[in-house]
Amino acid sequence: MKSPDVPKIRIRGLHKAFGDKHVLRGLDLDVGSGESVVVIGGSGTGKSVLLKCILGLLEPDAGTIEVDGQNVVGLRGEEQDAVMRKFGMLFQNAALFDSLPVWENVAFGLIQGEGMQRALAKQIALEKLAAVGLGADVAELGPAELSGGMRKRVGLARAIATEPEIIFFDEPTTGLDPIMGDVINDLIVKCVHELGATALSITHDMASARKIAHRIAMLFEGKIIWAGPVAEVDCSGNDHVDQFINGRAEGPIRMAVEPL
């Protein structure tokens, strides 16, 4: 029996390097059950690497990642598949399968992951598409026929189709106009709330972060340098956080820009 004190995701001392580039340098992070945490940070700070390490797509060099108290680092085969069934993920560019129609993209986890009959899976896929504001006419289209906003919504429908316990959102509003970005934010909040899921998102979009997060954590130089409730992000007392959320070029975070 899982203790109520055990966070849904607990990360301790996570290290990951690519050659001599040390991306994560002892990262610690807890995500509570039913909580929505947004990790913010500049480009190339390792936000996507963090998600990929949790999902087992990258092998960390050191550290532990616990999901429901179980260390998932180095899991293979059936054990990894069992953990994966707890997750849903919305990729930055949706990562829809080009060779499948929209409904089969949404139903993929149900058909392949859970072995559900295709007819039943299609019915659920249509319900999930309706939940993200897409009609049955979209279901038979190919991903290449969709706009950016529609692709994100199909990606969201796919992420929630198996009703996962944990959902990851990788830059959910990148590449969208502000109105469509807000539509996606609302859908994320609604879907996560309805499923009672735990959410971990990464973004640079502060409007998005403020809308979908219960708690915000800032990643800088491979570590979480500040974490706190979303209401406290404007008075964090951390210069790095202040510079980032206000989008200032001047401050402790320096970009390597060569003079013209």
Binding site: M84, M89, F108
Partner: protein, 257 residues
């Protein structure tokens, strides 16, 4: 010392690549024998590799058979050995030209397409998405292609053998004035089961190599469109070189005295 550095770096790169190919191959082969298999995907790949490659392999075979008969005639006529043409055509086609040319054509058509498709899936995170949907990419993407390549290329080569021999027959009978009945009798009398079997074994191995190289280079492609382009080129080049190398090894195993 600066002279040794590139040599050492190249050697290390070669070792790393060999290790990566070996691990990829073993993982892929094991995936072919473990559930879940995907019959629908295997069938789709069989149609793609077998059925849709028929025109290009058939055309290659018929022109090869026709040229072979013509070239043999110009050479053999000097020694009054024209009657050996049916024998030369059938042995050359079944043992060597059928499997090698079909393998190379399929490498160009299928190996390149596989590398491009899987490579695009890699750089657009579709392979990562498969993993997050509790689906093993080796079983879903690689195993169906390997099984289809392994089984379809022998069938293609069987068809290529028949069409190639027919090409030789057409030129010999309608251009060089051979007696049709004698030509066919000579062909059947001279052909041995081992000629065809060795060709089919080669075809299976080539089918495996072509699909393996296509999948491997696609699976490890990096860096967007340029990476996918490089993966496609590497898949065709490595598959072609492996086909020619393994052709020698299998020929040695079957026919060396």
């Amino acid at each position: 010392m600066p002279l040794l550095q590139p040599i050492g770096r190249t050697f290390l790169f070669f070792l790393a690549a060999t290790g990566r190919v070996t691990i990829f191959s073993l993982t892929s082969i094991f995936s072919c024998f473990r559930a879940p298999l995907y019959p629908r995907l295997i069938l789709r790949q069989m149609i793609e590799i077998g059925y849709y490659s028929l025109p290009v392999v058939g055309l290659t075979a018929i022109f090869t058979g026709m040229v072979l008969a013509l070239q043999s005639y110009t050479g053999f006529a000097r020694f009054s050995a024209e009657s050996a043409i049916p024998n030369v055509v059938v042995v050359s086609i079944t043992r060597e030209l059928g499997p090698v040319l079909a393998g190379l054509m399929v490498a160009g058509r299928i190996g390149a397409a596989m590398a491009a498709e899987i490579g695009t899936m890699r750089v657009t995170e579709q392979i990562d998405a498969l993993s997050t949907l509790a689906t093993n990419p080796y079983k879903y993407l690689i195993a169906p292609r390997l099984i289809a390549g392994l089984t379809m290329l022998p069938l293609l080569v069987l068809v290529a053998d028949i069409i190639g021999v027919f090409g030789g027959y057409v030129v010999s009978v309608y251009k060089l004035g051979f007696n049709p009945s004698n030509y066919l009798t000579n062909t059947i009398d001279f052909m041995e089961a081992q000629d065809v079997i060795s060709g089919l074994v080669k075809a299976s191995v080539f089918g495996f190599l072509v699909t393996l190289m296509g999948c491997y280079h696609g699976f490890y492609s990096r860096g967007g469109a340029q990476g996918v382009g490089a993966a496609t080129t590497n898949a065709v080049v490595s598959a072609s070189i492996l086909i020619l190398s393994f052709n020698y090894i299998i020929t040695e195993a079957f026919f060396a005295r």
